[in-house]
């Protein structure tokens, strides 16, 4: 078995090191957080099991990004999928967990099937499982085969990453896992699929047709928009975050797809730059999505509900969690000077620089993608105004929120660490970009030593000499100064005029938390604006005592799950119908089973006679 020689098993190039770093950065605080989170949740044995699964999960993810053998990669990949399945169904109290787990494991295995097919095609040409051998063999592959391998890899990794329309499992599975696991799954596990795309498509297969990049860009744009629009409609805080994972995977893939497009167009500088933007957003998303899931877990732990319509006023009960959530929300909404802003700015810059360097239809296409990215950021900001405002501000909407208490120290420590990282990754952008340039250079095989991405350690200048600069520390300083100045002016001018009184209610005198703004009302304009896609419908039910007196009135509004209804349900129906049809040959009669064998033998004999 020379394939499994231990010396040729591991690969620690900059790309692997980068992903190992991401895994480490997110899992450490999540593990610390889980100490407090698991306390009082379940018995000692089950807690031990949770730790065991967590460690196994981390090891398998580490293996996925660091092996250099396709065979071992698949094994690690499968262990990762299975362990995460067990973590999704870990909370067996809820029936939903089992259902979510089933959807997850079916989808992930469809993905793995495509991966296996792609790897077997690669093996056929390389006669080896080693990355290096496959890489050299891939250049000899006929173009048709390369296209097929690319598509299989895209479907396989896309399922794990949650690209629309393969995202269907993500909003079910991520919310059902315990929160620290959601944070790792959403922050790190789906990133291993991005690692797969970068490693296998860009690094091993090599990009040489431009439609690959275009396809990924289109899928990415769709993922961005669909993810964020669904997130806007969602009231389950963890599901909302899961939909944002779909959106952010889209943003990451915008960088990756752009890099692929530029590689095929032979523009090394832009390719490296786009990949830097993608990788930067990858680690940023890992950090702030990890943080947001931890915060959501804290809210869940404190209130025992994930429905934001039942929350409210938590900023007074859980001030620290609120601050951490606000930081995460600001980062994911790409507000300066935090990390999300830097990476989205870089992605937008990559689009602009690209649009100015290409010709014809591509120029329009890249411009449109940039516009969609801008729209996505705006919608994300709106969504987090909703998420933060409804959850933490105003008055408690239910007794769940009234009885909330700040969570334990270990949970706050985990959240603090990630919040700290958000600020660091925002302010130290110039240094991090230099590091990411090395990663991108290793992944694409382009020599970056002659390229300059930065003037000094504080100012980002994506293309030296073009007059595009960004300095997050400077921005932070400006914002801080403005903020302090504004606060000071407010204090000086307005000090005497503050009056505390009840909200004016037009003489109703009975305003309570039921009259507050809700998440549904907040998202109504978006529901109307995107009604062509969301297909909202409402159900009303009146119960009358007489014609003039309505005793009760029920009103529900829903949105149609387009992908579920028009893609997955027809497929599922087909599977079930054909299964029912096939069941007819299984009537349970021994004679019939025997006769199947008998008839087969006879047919074989008659068939052989022909030859």
């Amino acid at each position: 078995m020379e394939h499994l020689n231990i010396d040729s098993l591991f690969l620690f190039d900059p790309l692997s090191a980068f992903f190992l770093c991401v895994i480490f950065l997110i899992s450490l605080p999540s593990a610390v957080y889980s100490i407090g989170y698991l306390k009082g949740e379940s018995s000692g044995l089950k807690t031990a099991l949770a730790w065991f699964l967590l460690v196994l999960f981390l090891i398998s993810m580490g293996l996925v990004v660091s092996v250099r053998n396709v065979f071992v990669f698949l094994i690690a990949w499968e262990i990762m999928s299975l362990v995460s399945y067990f973590l999704v169904v870990f909370d067996t109290k809820h029936e939903k967990s089992i259902q979510a787990g089933t959807i997850y494991i079916v989808m992930t295995h469809i993905g793995t099937a495509f991966l296996i097919a792609a790897f077997l095609i690669m093996f056929k040409y390389a006669h080896s499982f080693n990355f290096a051998a496959i890489k050299s063999a891939c250049s000899l592959m006929p173009p048709q085969t390369r296209n097929i391998v690319f598509l299989f890899l895209l479907i396989g990794f896309g399922t794990k990453a949650g690209i629309v329309p393969l995202h269907i499992w993500l909003p079910y599975a991520h919310p059902q896992a315990p929160s620290h696991i959601s944070s790792i799954m959403s922050g790190v596990m789906i990133k291993t699929a991005i690692y797969g795309i970068i490693r296998f498509v860009i690094f091993i297969l090599g990009v040489n047709s431009s439609w690959w990049g275009v396809l990924i860009l289109m899928l990415a744009v769709i993922s961005c928009l669909v993810g964020v629009i669904y997130a806007l409609m969602e009231h389950d805080i963890k599901k909302l975050l899961a939909y944002h994972s779909v959106e952010n995977i889209g943003i990451i893939l915008l960088g990756v797809g752009l890099a692929m497009l530029f590689i095929s167009m032979n523009m090394p500088y832009l390719a490296v730059f786009s990949l830097i933007a993608g990788l930067y957003h990858l680690i940023n998303h890992a950090i702030f999505k990890g943080l947001l899931f931890l915060c959501a877990g804290a809210v869940y732990k404190a209130t025992e509900t994930r429905d934001i319509e039942k929350l409210g006023g938590l900023i007074k009960k859980m001030p620290q969690t609120a601050v951490y959530f606000l930081l995460g929300a600001m980062a994911i909404s790409a507000l300066p000077p935090l990390n999300g802003f830097v990476s989205e700015w870089l992605t937008l810059q990559a689009f602009f620089l690209g649009a100015f360097s290409v010709e014809g239809g591509y120029r329009l296409f890249l411009g449109l993608c940039a516009a969609m990215l801008a729209l996505t950021s705006g919608l994300a900001a709106a969504c987090f105004v909703k998420a933060f405002g409804i959850t933490f501000l105003a008055q408690p909407r239910s007794r769940y929120a009234q009885n909330a208490k700040e969570v334990s120290l270990s949970m706050r420590a985990g959240m603090f660490f990630l919040s700290f990282l958000i600020v660091v990754f925002g302010l130290a952008a110039a240094i991090i970009i230099k590091l990411l340039a090395k990663v991108a250079s290793a992944a694409t095989g382009i020599n970056t030593s002659s390229m300059s991405f930065s003037l000094n350690n504080f100012i980002l200048s994506p293309q030296a000499g073009k007059g595009v600069y960004l300095s997050t520390p400077l921005l932070a300083a400006v914002l801080a100064t403005l903020g302090i100045a504004g606060f000071a002016i407010y204090k000086l001018v307005n000090r005497e005029k503050a009056v505390i009184y009840k909200t004016w209610d037009c003489g109703y005198y009975k305003l309570d938390s039921r009259n507050e703004y809700t998440a549904t009302t907040f998202s109504k304009p978006f529901r109307i604006a995107f009604s062509f896609f969301l297909l909202p419908y409402r159900k009303t039910q009146k119960i009358r005592e007489s014609f003039y007196h309505v005793k009760s009135f029920a009103y529900e509004t829903h949105t149609t799950m387009v992908f579920k209804k028009y893609i997955y349900e027809p497929i599922l129906g087909l599977v079930f119908r054909s299964a029912k049809f096939m069941r007819k040959i299984q009537p349970g009669s021994i004679h019939l089973y025997l006769s199947y064998i008998f008839v087969t033998v006879l047919i074989l004999i008659i068939f052989m006679r022909k030859f």
């Binding site: 009537p587 349970g588 021994i590 004679h591 025997l594 064998i597 004999i605 008659i606 052989m608």
Partner: protein, 211 residues
Amino acid sequence: MQAIILFGVLASTYLMVIAKRTPALIRYFRYQSFFLFLATFAVAIEERQIDLYIIAGLLFVIKVCAIPYFLNRIIKRMKVSEDLGLFVNAQLSLLCVLGFTYLSWVFAERILAPRNEAQAIMLAVAFFVVLAGMFLMVFRMTALAQIIGLLVMENGLFLLASTVSGGMPFFVEIAIFFDVFVSVIIMGFFVYRINKLFTHIDVNKLSRLKG
């Protein structure tokens, strides 16, 4: 001599196919096994090998005496109707089986590539016995018919093996004999239990057990 023995095997198989009652089936099975014993015994005399004598002896003891006796005893103890329950009536069964005879002849002649005419006939008969055993298993209702069908198939395989390669190795042969005997006892026991539980041994009705 060999021609007579083969004819005997063939004839007893046809008789089994047209049998309507279980005791008759068992009796014809005994005839078939007896002809098989004769065939082995003839070869043993010809080649003067102690192994073959032992195998022939075992054949006689197990297949001609022990198994039919055991099956008969089960029938008597179960006190069910002796009817075999034919899915396909005797005449049609015979027609089918004649068709199989032709098929196995064709199969033996063209596919198995026999060395001479005599071996071709032997192959055809052996293969036909296998097919007939399967036919019995499929088209007879009671569980006992299935056991006997299996035994007939085993007889056919024995014949096939001895024609193609001059018999299997001694120890394999012995092991098979004991396997067959033990399986008949186990299956007989099962059939007995099924009968006690459901008051019939109609396999067709077992499909009701399916969820």
